[in-house]
């Protein structure tokens, strides 16, 4: 399954791109995406467990399973305000 992960803020800057395209064997969980990101984009490793993953407009923990049409984003802790 193709998974496109949008990156934001320091994660995007470290990766040097706004999106990472992954090809993962189904079923795909958020934890699988997290592991694959660390392998394919080693620049993100310093942020590691601090990275948050959103599926659609909700935060998702590693157990959440992905559907093919889900929008996935990955970013460090938020700092609005």
């Amino acid at each position: 399954m193709k998974v496109a992960v949008q990156l934001f803020a320091h994660a995007r800057d470290l990766a040097g791109r706004e999106q990472v395209d992954l090809e993962l064997a189904e079923p795909v969980s958020v934890g699988d995406v997290r592991s694959a990101l660390a392998v394919h984009v080693p620049q993100l490793v310093p942020l590691a467990d601090g990275l948050l993953i959103a599926v659609g407009t909700n935060y998702a923990d590693d157990a959440v399973k992905l559907d093919a049409n889900d929008t996935i984003a990955c970013f460090p802790p938020v700092s609005g305000g």
């Binding site: 490793v45 601090g50 959103a54 659609g56």
Partner: protein
């Protein structure tokens, strides 16, 4: 009203938008760009967001606040892009029948916004360096490029 904008925030208009004959109290919170952080001098902040999720989270936030306090009206505007020292980055206006609930709801809205809404700020320091603010992570350039201890 919920809005993400690259333009300066019209705080007067936001305040007027929540005024209502049913409300006896209006609380306005403004977040402004502070000069000193841990002794370092800030010239400006750059804000960015994940707009679709930020808007959804702000709407959830207002719904959550409305379930806890008798809110008459409420508005949140967050600015994005390059914001100079002293300028307003976020404004939260809330009106309620009485002041206690208006203060409590306003406090809840800004506190929770800072925890859950996907918006990020990058410091532009006087010495020319920039640094993303990611609570709990050390994002200074040295740490980001050489320190992998956070991965364990």
């Amino acid at each position: 009203m919920i809005q993400l904008t690259h333009d300066p925030i019209d705080t007067h208009q936001l305040t007027e938008s929540v005024r209502d004959h049913a409300a006896g109290a209006v609380v306005l919170f403004l977040g402004t760009v502070r000069e000193l952080t841990d002794g370092r001098r800030t010239l400006a902040l750059d804000y960015e967001s994940y707009p679709e999720m930020a808007t959804a989270k702000l709407e959830e936030l207002v719904e959550n606040a409305r379930s806890q306090w008798p809110i008459t009206a409420c508005g949140i505007v967050h600015r994005l892009g390059h914001i100079e020292l002293g300028d307003v980055s976020v404004a939260v206006a809330v009106s309620c029948p009485h002041r206690v609930e208006a203060f409590e709801a306003g406090r809840f809205l800004i506190d929770t916004l800072k925890e859950v809404v996907p918006i990020w700020k990058k410091e532009n320091f006087e010495d020319g360096t920039t640094e993303w603010v990611h609570p709990g992570l050390d994002t200074s350039s040295d740490a980001a490029s050489t320190d992998t201890s956070l991965s364990s």
